[in-house]
């Protein structure tokens, strides 16, 4: 047994697109403990509700995170709609769900690329991001933005999608599906990928439950936790939704869950497009949230359950807006998975929780 050494990991590290600092206490190449230090991305934007009115804050909410931007604007809008008792048109609900699932495809492809980069499979990284560009083209054609869309507003959405554009969705997504299956095969069957992921950073179902893990990270440890199964909004129209689960709880299982969720999301988009109702895309919103009115809302982000809470004070500004994001739930699970792993596996384990630091710190 060697002497314990502390190796700093981050905040600037090639494998991390975002700043996260870990103090890795190692003994002979084995990590004994990982102590996270955060705060590099903290802006304090929740406090901006005091100076921006509830219509303006949606643009701030969207900029909590650039990867789950659509999810945050949707989650915020739904919370304020609950707070004020607004019923939005069904078409708006469907459009939101279609864009949200498309964001999930883009987020998972982005993550799969970064994971491939982390285990040194450069060409797989490039292939994932090549496919992702085609999803971004769909976003750009329907919303005008590539990563920040600004199409959701309190009371509905600002843009409609035409039937021609839905045709383009169908052809692009079926085209992607064929190429994606090849990438999936590389992730799930390639020996060099399996060497890096199988039996690395295993978390048992009990540990996942104890640490309140959410999202694909929890589902890979066989925790049946998917907010979409509640059937909120347009998700209620899905005929048969079953969360994708895996019982292994290692890095391989987490890659597998996300890889299969991309295909699931493509199916959901096709199903929603087939039954989208005609009608308005927004209702007019007037007035302010009542004094002391409270509302909470949950949403399945690409990284897991996100909880929103809002309280009104009778003025245009909200009294309080609070989000609990998936990564802040998953950090405890990450430090558990890191304890006892090899130093070389640290970047793989950190990536498989799909950390979104700007969501966490806001």
């Amino acid at each position: 047994m060697g002497k314990a050494t502390v190796i700093p990991f981050g905040p600037q590290h090639p494998v991390l697109p975002e700043p996260l600092h870990l103090d890795l206490v190692v003994e002979d190449e084995v990590v004994i403990e990982a102590i996270p230090q955060i705060g590099f991305v903290h802006r304090g934007l929740e406090r901006l509700v005091q100076t921006r009115d509830y219509h303006q804050f949606i643009y701030i909410a969207e900029r909590i995170c650039g990867i789950c931007a659509f999810g945050h604007s949707m989650g915020y809008a739904e919370t304020v709609e609950k707070l004020m008792g607004i019923e939005i048109p069904p078409r708006a609900e469907f459009l939101r769900a279609v864009w949200h699932e498309l964001s999930r495809v883009h987020s998972h492809l982005l993550w799969m690329g970064l994971a491939a980069d982390a285990f040194g499979f450069e060409s797989l990284f490039m292939h994932c991001w090549r496919l992702r560009e085609r999803i971004l083209d769909l976003f750009e054609a329907t919303t005008g933005g590539r990563v920040i869309f600004s199409v959701v507003k309190v009371g509905g959405v600002t843009r409609d999608i035409s039937p021609d554009m839905f045709e383009r969705f169908a052809t692009t997504l079926s085209g992607i599906k064929g190429e994606y299956n090849q990438i999936c095969k590389a992730f799930l069957t390639d020996a060099s990928v399996k060497n890096r992921t199988v039996d690395v950073g295993t978390i048992s179902q009990q540990a996942a439950l104890d640490q309140c893990m959410v999202g694909p990270f929890a589902r890979a440890s066989n925790v049946n936790n998917d907010i979409r199964a509640l059937g909120n909004g347009a998700y209620g129209a899905l005929s048969d939704f079953k969360p994708i689960l895996d019982s292994q709880g290692d890095c391989y299982a987490r890659v597998k869950v996300r890889a299969l969720e991309v295909l699931q999301s493509i199916d959901i988009i096709n199903e929603l497009i087939a039954q989208i109702p005609a009608g308005d895309i927004a209702v007019e919103v007037k007035g302010s949230p009542a004094l002391g009115a409270e509302a909470s809302n949950v949403l399945e982000q690409p990284r897991g359950e996100c909880y929103y809470y809002a309280r009104g004070n009778g003025t245009k500004n909200l009294e309080r807006m609070r989000m609990r994001t998936p990564t802040s739930q998953n950090l405890a699970g990450m430090t558990t998975a890191l304890a006892g792993c090899d130093l070389a596996d640290v970047n793989m384990i950190v990536l498989t929780i799909d950390p979104c630091i700007s969501c966490t710190e806001r």
């Binding site: 905040p11 600037q12 590290h13 090639p14 494998v15 697109p17 975002e18 700043p19 705060g39 590099f40 991305v41 903290h42 802006r43 304090g44 934007l45 406090r47 901006l48 100076t51 643009y59 701030i60 900029r63 909590i64 995170c65 650039g66 990867i67 931007a69 982005l110 690329g113 990284f125 490039m126 292939h127 991001w129 090549r130 992702r132 560009e133 971004l136 933005g145 590539r146 990563v147 920040i148 979104c356 700007s358």
Partner: protein
């Protein structure tokens, strides 16, 4: 230095960006825009880098990291502020933990606007940075000759 002015290596640091600009920086390096074909490579080592791409605004916690990375880079070096948060802190300018744009911490040579900054704007900024890098390299060489 001539090889470096044609194919600069970049280092990217996320100050307190929302990720939007970060993924656009990566998208510029990946298929679709593919600046790697010009020899522009993303490196993790400040000592290998010629161009410092910073996304997001400066706050109390990360100002030291930004200065540290900048100080570790060798001359000549160019700093690009990617996105409106890095230029002037953007929508977050009046948040309590935001000091301001990247120019509050280190000297910035090129400002690339946009929320999120588009890959085309990043490529434009890098092309402009190449000219500045060339000038700085020549000035450095002249100074060495004179000394």
């Amino acid at each position: 230095m001539s090889f470096a002015t044609k194919s600069p290596w970049v280092i990217h640091y996320d100050a307190s960006s929302c990720n939007g600009c970060d993924i656009e920086v990566l998208a510029a390096l990946c298929p679709g825009f593919d600046v790697e074909r010009f020899g522009i490579i993303n490196t993790g080592n400040p000592k290998h880098a010629d161009i410092f791409l910073v996304t997001g605004s400066v706050n109390e916690q990360n100002i030291h990291t930004i200065k540290e990375i900048y100080n570790q880079m060798l001359e000549p070096k160019v700093v690009i502020a990617c996105g409106v948060c890095a230029c002037s802190a953007g929508v977050f300018h009046d948040c309590y933990n935001v000091i301001g744009g990247v120019d509050q911490a280190i000297p910035v040579d090129v400002y690339a606007p946009g929320c999120a900054v588009r890959p085309e704007a990043i490529i434009d900024a890098v092309v402009e940075a190449l000219g500045i890098l060339d000038k700085k390299a020549k000035a450095l060489a002249a100074k060495k000759k004179g000394a």
